[in-house]
Symmetry: C2
Subunit: 221 residues, 2 copies
DNA sequence: ATATTTTTTTAGATTTGTCTAAATTTTAAT
DNA sequence: ATTAAAATTTAGACAAATCTAAAAAAATAT
């Protein structure tokens, strides 16, 4: 895999994110996302086309080809590994990690990234719950977040409980929640951040913020 | 402190290194060091002068002013902290860390650097034995390396013994070496990498490679 | 002290990535 | 099916960082 400039990498990564389900990406959408001008996007698309990373016909939009996706995944891998590092090792707050990772992701040493991955213990999800691509670009195709970060009315499945104390297990049993339980969050009570959740064919139950933070669920395509 | 481009930072850092003892740095010397052309150096010096980081009179060479030195120290701080991280945490070999650190040093988030410093335990020397500037730009003014990395005929003082086993202490006592002992390395026997060392007013003694690697000395202005 | 060599600077060009304004193509509306 | 609006591309310009070749200044040698 060749090396690409920071600017090229930002375009590639952003096309990847916009191109969910292989939709064609438009010039305006990309310009808007990158806080730049449509004319600049056109210029860059010509370049990425000659570098054989995108399919592009003037006026017809563009999409990453196989090689482009491979490059995108390696950038996303770097970004999410650095996010994990910043959060887990350097104790950054969630809302501070993105911008720093945005810079670190462009340091392209392959060996650095793979050794960082090893050092971190080959994490599968970053602190936002997004899956981290492995060395080969493979990753889980769902999000994993704590129940307190799950969007409303989104069906999700319990996959992890981070606090294994007997008190925790007791309340889980009482609420009828176990690994594999499918549920969705219906409502949040701002007063104490407790959540009303709905398990299929059961009456809604309320869960404390503390409990919600320790239950991890997976969702998404 | 403002932000500077990668290129500007490389110039600033290199001037700092060339400018030992406040010597004036010449255009050719800097061009040679940065693998660039004298004309490019002149261009950049004009820029750094308008940014008030260097003193510069055409044809008269240049040197960093106070602000320039402050910036240089912060770049060197980042570089050496990353070198320490790469070596200590990611287990890179000594000869692989420089180039990667050269890239990482340009990620300029102040918070990142300070949290990294904390995570690493506020190390005072990088893996090459060079001192790491602290948050305020202060650092030790000597090198600290293992005896096996000490240049020949350089007076140095033992300041640390990394292996505290009784066997180690026994051989040290036998060779008359303790914290504070002043010595220099005279010769290296390539066959087994043993070293001949000279302690003042004593006959030379020979030290095994293994022992030398565990004795750390400080030297330099 | 003058000539020669070396160093440094200037002038003008190049590359990358960006921009604005105008032209072109596509899409939507009547 | 035209026309109007929106999206996209082209043309030409600019800033940063670099380069080569030529000019100017400083250092050195005779």
């Amino acid at each position: 895999m060749l090396n690409y400039s920071t600017s090229e990498e930002n375009y590639i990564k952003t096309i990847f994110h916009l191109q969910v389900d292989n939709d064609t990406v438009t010039t305006n959408a990309l310009a808007h996302e990158l806080l730049t001008r449509p004319a600049s996007v056109t210029d860059m698309m010509k370049k990425l086309k000659t570098k054989k990373l995108v399919q592009y016909q003037p006026y017809k939009g563009f999409r990453l080809n196989m090689e482009g996706k491979k490059v995108a995944l390696s950038i996303i891998r770097r970004h999410r590994l650095w996010e994990f590092f910043l959060s887990e090792k350097l104790k950054f707050d969630w809302d501070e990690i993105h911008d720093v990772a945005e810079e670190l992701e462009h340091v392209s040493s392959r060996k650095l990234v793979d050794k960082l991955d090893e050092f971190l213990g080959y994490p599968k999800f970053d602190p936002h719950g997004d899956p981290i691509p492995d060395v080969h670009g493979k990753m889980e195709n769902f999000q994993r977040v704590s129940l307190s970060a799950l969007p409303f009315n989104t069906l999700a499945e319990v996959c992890l409980v981070s606090n294994q104390s007997s008190g925790m297990l007791e309340v889980l049993r009482h609420k009828n929640i176990a690994i594999g339980t499918k549920l969705e969050v219906k409502k949040k009570f701002g007063f104490d951040n407790s959540l009303e959740i709905k398990i299929r064919q059961q009456a809604p139950v309320t869960i404390s913020e503390q409990l919600a933070k320790n239950i991890f669920v997976k969702y998404g395509s």
